[in-house]
Subunit: 166 residues, 2 copies
């Protein structure tokens, strides 16, 4: 355990970004980031002595995750908060793993989070299934109407040819 640096924990002095940089990288507005913090969805890793938000790359990943859950799953921020909560309990368990004295509680938390993850998988699967049905219907109708267009086109061409020949 010889000192390798001033840090006790293994944070490899990750570059922390200001709110503007994060907004630019994720495509959301600064207001949105502050709003996420306001409702307890995303708290920046830490703050500068002057009080400015400093985000780490994990925070950025979380912003992307939030947008993903919004656009793909159509969740509102409250539902997303629950998903995120389960997911971060999973990765926080990852941190302890060996350190925890109470493996009973460990297993219970893990099991709960797993269940939440599984429900999310179910939701995703049924959404995919529904969309595939939706698409199949679209495909059929598209093909049908395209044939109609081709018929009209054929009639038109035939008429044009007729006119040419006279």
């Amino acid at each position: 355990m010889h000192a390798d640096g001033p840090d006790e924990t293994q944070e490899r002095e990750e570059p922390l970004r200001g709110i503007g940089a994060v907004a630019a990288q994720t495509g959301v507005s600064e207001r949105t980031l502050r709003y996420y913090e306001e409702i307890g969805l995303l708290t920046p890793r830490d703050h500068s002595p002057g009080g400015m938000r400093r985000y780490c790359s994990e925070d950025i990943a979380r912003v992307r995750r939030i947008r993903e859950l919004q656009t793909l799953m159509g969740f509102n921020l409250e539902e997303i908060r629950r998903v995120i909560a389960a997911e971060s309990r999973l990765s926080s368990l990852r941190a302890d793993f060996r350190a925890s004295s109470d493996s009973e509680h460990q297993r219970e938390v893990l099991d709960e989070a797993l269940q939440a993850l599984d429900e999310l998988r179910d939701a995703a699967r049924s959404k995919i299934a529904a969309l595939q049905g939706f698409l199949a219907d679209l495909d059929e109708r598209f093909a049908r109407h395209r044939r109609r267009l081709e018929e009209l086109q054929a009639v038109h061409d035939a008429e044009a040819k007729n006119e040419q020949e006279t």
Copy 2:
């Protein structure tokens, strides 16, 4: 073309429903139906002499379509309005088909609507693709964490067995 009934057009005197029945059948509120009408998304087939809305089954299908586009594609009502517009142009063309004198214009309209339909297909496909990626990631993470849980369970069982043996 002997008269079979009082109607000239072939409307087989479809049963028209009031707004309450439609709301019940589709699961949306009466307010929502009136709102859809207000923004030009769904106009009931006709009205009773007293001014009450009378919906036909096609109207009901449209309500379902609207909800589908909302929940599956995540469209807002303005986007949905465009999709519906293209789709109903297609079925109105179906009605004329032979009756129209201007086949030039016919083809143009059909082509445009087909293009809109194709864009919708593209959107659906890319949404499905994105969701499949999303799900694959979920599956992987789920499996990983389930293995972790099983490990913990194994350790726990072993400890229990040890205790039993002492």
